[in-house]
């Protein structure tokens, strides 16, 4: 088993209503020099969180104790840019288990799924409803139900379903990863390799 299982998550949220949040903001390149997967949570959104003299930027949401929780809610086209999995690691290590947005960059969402962070894509309208309800009441809880593929705002009695392919869903529910699966089919891979020209 590669990571924690994900079934149902009920949590308050951290709102980040900015579009095109790219991987260089999530984890700036100068923090990619590690040779182990350790300590990335501390540098999540480093340059939005701290001034150049390392004093915290008061207006950034991660410095605001009003907002906390295991769900990060981001603006459209979240995670664009580099393939660095460090971006997903920093989100996980910070304590998030789920990111909600109306659109995700491909590699970023694949990276999240590979390490046990659930990317939930909702409609633009529902995303706005979520932002509004968080701003109205920062203690509002969201209910992310992976088995039923639904995200709900119980307080408002509103919900929306989301997509995830069955294979990835099963992995998330059980904490399996792709390598376990691939190692089990090694024989077919060797057979295949013997027929390829390159």
């Amino acid at each position: 088993m590669a990571y924690d299982k994900f079934t149902i998550l009920t949590s308050t949220c951290v709102p980040l209503p900015i579009e095109n949040v790219d991987t260089d903001q999530i984890i700036p390149a100068r923090f990619l020099k590690a040779i182990e997967r350790k300590g990335f949570g501390d540098n999540l959104f480093r340059d939005w969180k701290f001034n150049s003299d390392n004093t915290p930027k008061k207006d950034f949401v991660l410095n605001n104790p009003t907002y906390k929780g295991k769900i990060l809610v981001g603006g459209k086209n979240f995670g664009s840019g580099s393939s660095r999995e460090h971006a997903a690691w920093s989100i996980y290590d910070y304590g998030f288990r789920c990111v909600i947005s109306s659109f995700f960059a491909d590699i970023f969402s694949a990276n999240c799924l590979n390490i046990g962070v659930l990317p939930v894509r909702v409609s633009e309208e529902f995303l706005n409803v979520i932002f509004e309800s968080i701003y109205n009441n920062p203690t509002v809880e969201l209910f992310v139900d992976l088995p039923n593929q639904v995200v709900r705002i119980p307080e408002l009695n509103l919900s929306e379903s989301f997509n995830i392919n069955d294979y990835k869903k099963n992995n998330m529910l059980n904490g399996y990863d792709d390598i376990d699966y691939l190692i089990n089919m090694k024989k077919s891979i060797t057979d295949f390799a013997n027929t390829t020209p390159l």
Binding site: D24, R30, S82, Y181
Partner: protein
């Protein structure tokens, strides 16, 4: 059945299809570097397994290497350690390693094609999003995360849902002063950075057929900046000429056999794409970016769009402009700049240096400009010297650095200082990409050269 180039290559690499899940895709070529591979090797160790096909993986050090004094020990302890770990892992698993100082060292996406590791019809992955570069040869090439690097090392396969297919056709002729970089920035400005998300792009039309291999690499390289998984161009005689006799390309009968297959790699006439987009080559002008993502680009003589005339939410748009300290409606021409960066896997090839030299020849570097000219590899560096370009550069007051990713992601010491403007031929103008607080203006080598000799944003067409 009629199929696309993409289908042909993809389908021939599917080991297994998982119903309502991804395909298991066999990978022919795996490129690794120091930054995204160490954790993958730890994963292998934890599982107690070895690399399955070490001869299909190639290692080079590029992301955090210094671009001066490469013969001396790397001063930054963390970078030095990452390089050491890559060398150690490569040796332990029998992977070919072109480390710092090796004569074949360079940026992973520049050396791959140079040594014929990149071939038509191959599946190529690397833990770097600009792996899409290799699509210029008719390969399926895309960037992967570290978990996937571990997957490929351990099983030579990755799990991928098959992307949708998009074709971008550009016919006509490019005007003078318009380079492949401008073509790519133009497409991204039209599509936005998410316009091709979920798709694999094939580029077709006269503009790409006439384009050099270097130019095709620049365009395919930037596919990721429109959100695409990758981009590719059908191989033709130019492709075959380029790869012939390179170290890792097949020789003699094997070459003939490969050629017979490679010639079949094109989209059938009646094949269907999920999305088709076309543009007219003649309308493209030299491009420049004014904001903090590569989609925020425009013709160099245009004005920065007013908030009401563009598509992002106004708060995000103004955040971006205020980071750059620009205003809506302004012209970029004449704006002062501080740095020029010529290099990266986007524009660090010989053709880019030729373009740069064309403009600066007989002129002098502007006093207010610091210029970093970084070849993509030692082969590029050698060509710059052999072709007499180095002499031209030196006479105009420019120096050449040693190969590496350099200021493209500023992991080494090549960092643009806070608040300074850099005209860069690389691929990303994200906040802080080239150093904390740095402001990046993406452009072609011609525009970079024009800025380097005038010290301001200048239309290169006025300097021909």
């Amino acid at each position: 059945m009629s199929t696309t180039l993409f289908d042909k290559v993809w389908d021939s690499h599917v080991v297994n299809k998982i119903s309502n899940g991804p395909d298991v895709l066999f990978i022919d070529r795996h490129l690794i570097h120091e930054v995204t591979s160490p954790v993958a090797f730890i994963g292998l160790k934890n599982r107690g397994i070895k690399v399955m096909y070490p001869e299909k993986t190639f290692a080079t050090a590029d992301h955090n290497t210094p671009t001066i004094n490469q013969h001396l020990p790397v001063l930054d302890a963390l970078s030095a350690n990452q390089l050491k770990v890559l060398e150690h892992n490569s040796n332990e698993h029998g992977i070919l390693y072109w480390g710092l100082g090796h004569k074949k060292n360079g940026i992973v996406h520049v050396v791959g094609p140079e040594y014929g590791i990149t071939q038509p019809g191959a599946t190529i992955v690397c833990g770097d999003s600009h792996t899409s570069t290799h699509g210029a040869f008719g390969a399926i090439a895309f960037g992967i995360g570290t978990s996937e690097v571990e997957m490929v090392l351990s099983t030579q396969c990755i799990m991928q849902p098959k992307p949708k297919k998009m074709r971008i056709t550009i016919n006509g002729n490019l005007s003078k002063g318009v380079t492949p970089k401008d073509v790519a920035l133009y497409i991204i400005s039209k599509l936005s950075t998410a316009g091709a998300t979920g798709y694999f792009v094939e580029y077709s039309g006269e503009v790409f057929t006439k384009m050099s291999m270097e130019g095709r690499m620049t365009v395919c390289n930037l596919s990721i900046e429109m959100g695409a998984r990758g981009g590719m161009i059908a191989p033709d005689n130019k492709t075959f000429e380029y790869i012939k006799d390179r170290e890792f390309t097949p020789k003699a009968e094997k070459w003939e056999k490969a050629m017979a297959y490679w010639k079949t790699l094109k989209t059938d006439d009646s094949a269907i794409f999920d999305k088709e987009i076309s543009f007219e080559g003649g309308v493209i002008t030299p491009m420049i970016t004014y904001g903090t993502n590569p989609g925020m680009g425009m013709g160099i003589s245009n004005e920065i769009p007013k908030v009401k005339d563009q598509n992002s939410a106004s708060a995000s748009y103004f955040k971006s402009l205020s980071y750059m300290n620009y205003n809506e409606g302004e012209s970029m021409l004449g704006k002062k700049i501080d740095f020029v960066f010529l290099g990266s896997c986007t524009n660090g090839r010989i053709e880019d240096f030729r373009d740069f030299a064309k403009i600066i020849k007989g002129r002098k570097k502007a006093d207010n400009v610091t210029a970093w000219l970084v070849p993509g590899s030692h082969l590029v560096e050698k060509a710059i010297k052999d072709e007499g370009i180095l002499k031209i550069l030196n006479e105009s007051g420019f120096e050449l650095r040693e190969p590496g990713c350099s200021a493209c992601l500023a992991m080494n010491d090549d960092k643009i200082p806070r608040g300074k403007y850099a005209v860069s031929t690389s691929n990303r103008n994200f906040e802080g990409r080239q150093g904390q607080g740095s402001r990046t203006i993406l452009a072609s080598p011609l525009v970079a050269a024009a800025a380097a000799v005038t010290g301001i944003i200048t239309d290169p067409r006025t300097l021909f």
